[in-house]
Amino acid sequence: MAEPAAKVLLETRSLEKRFGGVIAVSNVDFTLHQGEIRCLIGPNGAGKSTFFKMLSGQLRPTSGSVLFAGENLAGREPHEIAKRGIGIKNQVPDVMNGLTVRENLWIAAHARRAPRDERRIVGELADRLGLVDILDRLVGELAHGQRQWVEIASVIATEPQLILLDEPAAGMTDEETVKTAELIRELNRIATIVVVEHDMQFIQLIARKVTVFHQGRILVEGSFDQVVADPVVRDVYLGRGN
């Protein structure tokens, strides 16, 4: 009887995305409860990032619906979706390279908060994510891992209810990866989180429930142990390395 009272926060129904003749995401019914940390895994090209981009409004679904807190957001503009409380960290660091870390965080905080609050939020986030020493450096000059942190911090600054993280640990050192996992667990106290990752050790650190994508569809869904033990999953995704 896990979390019987949890509300459904996000639900997609028959969500589909075609690029010409290619079906990137096909007929996906996905349900996420408030307070979850969910991991999406799957081989490259399985449609995970496309799925994320439809949730955040960067791509318009070909058909189907995205219900967030009961409202259909399919086809809405990215800024409208952001205002309703969905924040996304994209796969490639998606930040303002020509601005400083402070300016990046300020702009993000300003998107949701009343004036005067931004400065406090920037200070708190910089403190929490260890960005204090680099606040006045241009983001474009930072290492890949640091830029990932800046982007994650920007997303947090907008105070979303649902945070989508596309490969948050990619390009990070082992130490940074562990820190990221800690941060995600901490964030989970205030937000529901979906993570796309490849690193199984990282997934083990954070996820209670895993959804496996394959060829644009949901292949299997279950606990980490169930999914890892699933023969079909081993075959299409995990098994090849072993």
């Binding site: 800024h79 205002k83 601005l99 400083t100 300016e103 702009i107 300003h110 241009l138 474009g140 907008t158």
Partner: protein, 359 residues
């Protein structure tokens, strides 16, 4: 000093910048005492055209939109002022109309381009085409049937006898010296206003959009609204420039809309440096002086020479005059005063490189 004109200028100006603005204002205020009328006339024109350059560089350098046809607002401003002032005589109101009407036209044009998700390159082309359409349309109004109120549009002959500005409480229209002060004040105020605008939340958001529009949308900003607001503001400034041109020369003509004029604005901005606001003013002054000199000394071939200058800047000094001088200044300073161990000039040059990659 160069830092105040730097690319990422969303930080509040320093004391040095205020001193510079103050000194420049005092210098401009005293200038008519030491110069004759012809110098005042040519400087006034440079100030007026600088406003046009500022309207473009604000949009291009800080928002990332190259509006090639800023002259559409410039020409509209000129015609609005002339038609309103000749019909009603209230030149102060005419000046206001000449700012507002181009801004409203910018709102319409910008709405269709920006909300229609036209890519940046098409936006450049469309604004240019629109200004050329205006030129063509105005040129074809030489017949007596083309009258607005009591003013004949006069086709390619333009409208002569545009009244000078007479503000409430003044017994006569502005003298040449008065126009000099008006143009200088407008330039300084618009420059300071745009510079300070960039330190506001609105300004920072514009810079954010230039840097990464997609990310700004994902943070919850409707980037189209901000871009449109910037486009409208820039249209109003260009309109002011056009009206002042009419006041300065007592004459307006369809040439204000033409390709030559549109291209010159781009040259001023590129030569001066689009990543700064002071650069385009300097660029306008330098190119305008060169143009006048080429004409007066009988060298001719103005277009050819300007094209050559543009090529040199695009190939060798992509950042433009002022940012290049700033970089040279910093390099010299670093050489004279060795930096503390461990910190090279990498950060500085990295900053300069950033500027070239945008817009």
């Amino acid at each position: 000093m160069a830092q105040e004109f730097a690319f990422d200028a969303a930080v509040p100006p320093r004391t040095g910048w205020w001193l510079f603005v103050g000194a420049a204002s005092v210098g401009l205020a005293l200038m008519p005492m030491f110069t004759d009328i012809s110098v005042q006339l040519s400087l006034s024109l440079i100030f007026i055209l600088s406003l046009l350059a500022l309207s473009m560089s604000f949009l291009w350098g800080y928002v990332g939109i190259l509006s090639f046809g800023q002259t559409v607002f410039y020409g509209l401003g000129g015609y609005c002022y002339a038609i309103f002032a000749l019909n009603f005589g209230f030149t102060g109101w005419a000046l206001l109309v000449a700012i507002l009407l181009p801004a409203v036209f910018g709102l319409l044009l910008g709405y269709f381009m920006i909300y229609g998700r036209i890519s940046d390159i098409y936006l450049s082309v469309i604004t240019l085409v629109v200004t050329l359409i205006f030129e063509k349309a105005i040129r074809s109004t030489s017949g007596p049937e083309y009258v607005i109120g009591s003013v004949r549009l006069n086709g390619q002959n333009g409208i002569p006898g545009v009244p000078g500005l007479q503000l409430p409480g003044m017994s006569e229209t502005l003298s040449i010296e008065g126009v000099f002060y008006l143009a200088a004040a407008a330039m300084v105020l618009v420059y300071v206003g745009l510079r300070l605008l960039l330190t506001t939340a609105f300004g920072r958001i514009l810079v954010g959009i230039r840097e990464n529009e997609g990310r700004m949308q994902l943070l919850g900003y409707d980037s189209r609204r901000y871009k449109l607001a910037a486009f409208v503001l820039s249209g109003g400034i260009a309109g002011l420039s056009g009206a002042l041109y009419g006041i300065w020369g007592n004459f307006i003509a369809p040439e204000m809309f033409n390709l030559n004029q549109a291209a010159q604005v781009v040259i001023w901005v590129i030569v001066g440096g689009r990543s700064t606001l002071i650069g385009p003013i300097v660029g306008t002054g330098a190119i305008q002086s060169l143009t006048v000199w080429l004409g007066a000394s009988g060298v001719g071939q103005v277009t050819l020479v300007l094209g050559f200058v543009l090529m040199i800047f695009v190939l060798a000094f992509r950042e433009g005059l002022l940012p290049t001088l700033g970089a040279v200044g910093r390099a010299l300073r670093d050489r004279l005063r060795p930096p503390p161990a461990g910190s090279g000039s990498g950060a500085e040059s990295g900053k300069a490189d950033q500027g070239g990659g945008h817009g």
